[in-house]
Amino acid sequence: MKEYRTISKIAGPLVFVEKTEPIAYGELVNIILADGTTKRGQVLDTSDELVVVQIFETTAGIGRDSGVRFTGETIKMPVGREMLGRILSGGGKPIDGGPDIVPEKRLDINGAAINPYARGMPADFIQTGISTIDGTNTLVRGQKLPIFSGAGLPHNNVALQIARQAKVPGSTEKFAVVFAAMGITKEEANYFMQDFERTGALERAVVFLNLADDPAVERIITPRLALTTAEYLAFELGMHVLVILTDMTNYCEALRQIGAAREEVPGRRGYPGYMYTDLANLYERAGMIKGQKGSVTQIPILTMPGDDITHPIADLTGYITEGQIVVNRDLHRKGIYPPINVLPSLSRLMNLGIGKGKTREDHKKVSDQMYAGYAEGNDLRGLVAIVGKDALSERDRLLLEFADLFESRFVRQGYDEDRSIEDTLNLAWDLLATLPVEQLTRIDRELINKYHPKFRTGAKKE
């Protein structure tokens, strides 16, 4: 392989190379430093005169005297069954002291779009044991459902609780977990690793760690490595894979950094205009394939700068994913765990995974009614602050109490509390029963007669 020594410029993570033979767009590049170490990069722009290479690590040590080798192929990663139980760097190298991965296959890390015609419709209810998810924002296999959080909130606990408790009732298959850390602290990473070890999840997990002090640009490839692994496990080995990506905010910062280095016209708040497409190329790698066994379910975590849901990172994510679970600071301050605010939360695939034969026939309508009640009760809190409780009508007073009950009983649960969907729905009915029956306009009579505590006593005996 020919080695060039024609670097003309280095700017940020970009290296400009001149006078090369024709180089392919997207090609993997090795830069060889004077001390013999190698750094990897990828061709972003190629022409007769100039090739622009984006380096995935720091450019420290690269100089005009460094050697450049073009490998002639796009970035591929070795994958294999043995990856389960392994810990790899954000660039895909083993860092657990174990041997190199023996490749069964080498796959392009950018993946390819699943043909929409070949997609299987997600339909299997995943019970997470968390009421605010199972009851009102149900997760299904093959979904991409991010956690929107803020700095200092317990999103990691929520993600871990999901990873630990997630199961498809009636199925014995376990989830394999692919965990990709991007720019999180060592401490946070340890927290995940210890939990994986404590629960034995590590055996069926593949961990990619790009920590806060690892090169920022490496974060561009970390999720791609993780998703390539997940697709391999799912679509070649038939496993159900849960992918946790954290923290997508750090990923987006890296994207912005590269955009700036390329002197691109920046979009909103300096993030590149193509960030929607770039994120979609990650998030759309969730799903199922018709006639195949495995699935890729994604739970990306992101911390919203300033808790702002309209910030481009959260906004673009929300536009791509199939809903979002919003972790809320006010609930956290009230001491409620998990502090999930259901109002801005959403699971768009919920309807596919619930109802008769999947969860229970009353699920959808109970969920709608819970939302309506909580939303209205929550609004009244503002009014009460002004006019006082006494000025409220009876209807409003009950709604106000309902909102409190909703938070203290439905939302709040233990870190190790694993509620079945039956428990969650029955709990919901108990709370709805505090409201007058006529007010349950979202639920039809038939279901009320069957499930409302007031009427279901007969049913209970049998």
Binding site: P22, I23, A24, Y25, G26, L44, D45, T46, S47, D48, T74, N110, A113, I114, N115, P116, Y117, A118, R119, G120, M121, P122, F235, E264, V265, G267, R268, G273, Y274, Y276, T277, A280, N281, E284, R285, I289, K290, T310, P312, D315, L316, G318, Y319, I320, Q324, P344, L346, L349, L352, K364, Y371, A375, L383, I386, A391, L392, S393, E438, T441, D444
Partner: protein, 588 residues
């Protein structure tokens, strides 16, 4: 000799000079704007989008990884065109009309590149029934015959851009789309297939003003903010507010004869949902599977952006083609913002001077050209056909002041404003009744008058007034609580609540409520108005708001929307309501 020079010219290949993502530069290429070219050894499809001195700049519809400078580029000399003919219905295409089902057969479950596939099957035989005979004069766009494509009859037409002529022979029987079915006296021969460049609107004889509503079965749309057949509507909203669900509801239940649904830069699963659901859903009018009248275009967010840019043109051209047969076509584009972003991405790679928020300066022009292709028309063959266009808009941060929303609102006649506050409390469809509008009310007045009820237009205005009034009253309530309002206004608040919860809220996932015909819409609104009148008159004779609110029949009304044969139940409720009020009044 002439042949060889022509041949030589075709042979002349350009050479790739630079590759930077989806935009590549070639030199030594004879090209015109929007010519379709084959890029690289793998012959990836691309389109010329800029010519600058020696350099020809090309957007490539597939991933360009692995392509090198020096590879060949050849010009097909054709513009980006779609194949039009029997076989379009029930298809699912990518942005450049490659059938996704064929791509699965050719390359498996993932979309690889370098595979071409024609938009229509060229092997399948269709039974062609002629409608002209030898000696007939035919104008461009004339209907030559028909094919029973699904439950829809496909009219086979003379292309729009040809000279008139006289039919010499016309076939009858089973033919592929390439076989000649019509020969004219002057020797011109026509098969069933025609090709049309997607960026050029298909010509019509005349554009007319719409007067008939597109009935969607969605109460807030038909009832408050209707769109006309041949009209344009925009549905902007933040993520998760209900753009896609609304568009899908329109695709399912609107009384268009043909539906073209474009998933432009959105989710793969949403397209799969349509694909799995539609074949099992029945058209309320014909009772036939909805899929049979549907063409899907799916260029999801992770498919190439250049093909995303093309997808809306592919869609609207197919829609116009069915319009030319005399059909009412409705086209949904979800989301036009992703299309605009594709334009922005390509434009920035061209290093064009960016306009507002980085969008190209021609954004507004492209948007209005697109919506202008909607309309109620007299086709070249004299039929009435229409294309209604409903575009979703996805404003960053849900802020409607951004360029795509603003430029769209300048063009479209109907604005359905989605509101995150409503969707968060699960008020669906989350369309804000105060901000939304329809400029077709006037034009559709007569239709509602005749076809629904002479009372309808008045009832509609009444409901809007109550909702307006409620908004004003709510401001006071926020400060002093509802008990402080005068009694008649307390009644108004309750009536407004009923309009919102009973009439406006509609559950797309409820088997019955998902579609509500005009007759039922009228009955429901009328019932609420009756309640309002009874309440106001009771209040005047001294019945308290608390007593009025306790009327039981009112709560029963909410159940009506879930009942299919609602008439007997509704009559019962109204009777009970009347009785309850009588009791109240006589006690007062």
């Amino acid at each position: 000799m002439e042949v060889t020079t022509k041949h030589a010219k075709e042979q002349k290949q350009g050479v790739l000079k630079r590759i930077a993502g989806p935009v590549v530069t070639a030199v030594n290429l004879d090209a015109h704007m929007y010519d379709v070219v084959k890029v690289g050894k793998e012959e990836l499809m691309g389109e010329v989008i800029k010519i600058q001195g020696e350099s020809v700049i090309i957007q490539v519809y597939e991933d360009t990884s692995g392509i090198r400078p020096g590879e060949p580029v050849s010009n097909t000399g054709l513009s980006l065109a779609v194949e039009l003919g029997p076989g379009l219905l029930t298809s699912i295409y990518d942005g450049i009309q490659r059938p996704l089902s064929v791509l699965v057969d050719k390359m498996g479950n993932f979309i690889e590149r370098g595979v071409t596939a024609p938009g229509l099957s060229h092997d399948k035989k269709w039974t062609f029934k002629p409608l002209v005979k030898s000696g007939d004069k035919v104008e461009p766009g004339a209907i030559l015959g028909e094919v029973q494509e699904t439950n829809i009859v496909h009219k086979v037409m003379l292309p729009p851009n040809v000279k008139p002529g006289t039919v010499k022979t016309i076939k009858s029987g089973d033919y592929t789309i390439d076989e000649i079915i019509c020969v004219l006296e002057d020797g011109r021969e026509y098969p069933m297939i025609q090709r049309w460049p997607v960026r050029v609107p298909r010509p019509v004889k005349e554009k007319m003003n719409p007067t008939i509503p597109l009935i969607t079965g969605q109460r807030i749309l038909d009832g408050l903010f209707p769109i006309a057949k041949g009209g344009t509507a925009a549905i902007p909203g933040p993520f998760g507010s209900g753009k896609t669900v609304t568009q899908q509801q329109l695709a399912k239940w609107s009384d268009a004869e043909i539906v073209v649904y474009i998933g432009c830069g959105e989710r793969g699963n949403e397209m799969t949902e349509v694909l799995t659901e539609f074949p099992h859903l029945e058209d309320p009018k014909s009772g036939k599977p909805l899929m049979e009248r549907t063409v899907l275009i799916a260029n999801t967010s992770n498919m190439p952006v250049a093909a995303r840019e093309a997808s809306v043109y592919t869609g609207i051209t197919i829609a116009e083609y069915f319009r030319d047969m005399g059909y009412d076509v409705s086209l949904m584009a979800d989301s036009t913002s992703r299309w605009a972003e594709a334009m922005r991405e390509i434009s920035s790679r061209l290093e064009e001077m960016p306009g507002e928020e980085g969008y190209p300066a021609y954004l507004a022009a492209r948007l209005s050209e697109f919506y202008e292709r909607a309309g109620l028309v007299k086709t070249l063959n004299g039929a009435r056909g229409s294309v209604s266009v409903i575009g979703a808009v996805s404003p960053p941060g849900g802020d409607f002041s951004e360029p795509v929303t603003q430029n769209t609102l300048r063009i479209v006649k109907v604005f359905w404003a989605l509101d995150a506050k409503l969707s968060q409390r699960r008020h669906f469809p989350a369309i804000n009744w105060l901000n939304s509008y329809s400029l077709y009310l006037e034009a559709l007045h007569d239709y509602y008058d005749k076809e629904v009820s002479p009372e309808w237009n008045t009832i509609r205005s009444w409901a809007m007034e109550i909702l307006q009034k409620e908004a004003e009253l709510q401001e006071i309530v926020q400060l002093v609580g509802s008990d402080a309002l005068p009694e008649s206004e307390q009644v108004t608040i309750e009536v407004a609540r009923m309009i919102r919860e009973i009439f406006l809220q509609q559950n797309a996932y409820d088997a019955v409520d998902t579609f509500c015909d005009m007759k039922k819409q009228y009955a429901m609104m009328k019932a609420i108005k009756t309640y309002a009148e009874l309440s106001y008159s009771a209040q005047l004779v001294g019945v308290s708001p608390a007593q009025i609110n306790a009327v039981k029949a009112k709560n029963e009304l909410a159940q009506i929307k879930f009942i299919k044969d609602y008439t007997p139940e509704l009559a019962k409720i109204m009777k009970q309501m009347d009785d309850e009020f009588n009791t109240l009044r006589s006690a007062a």
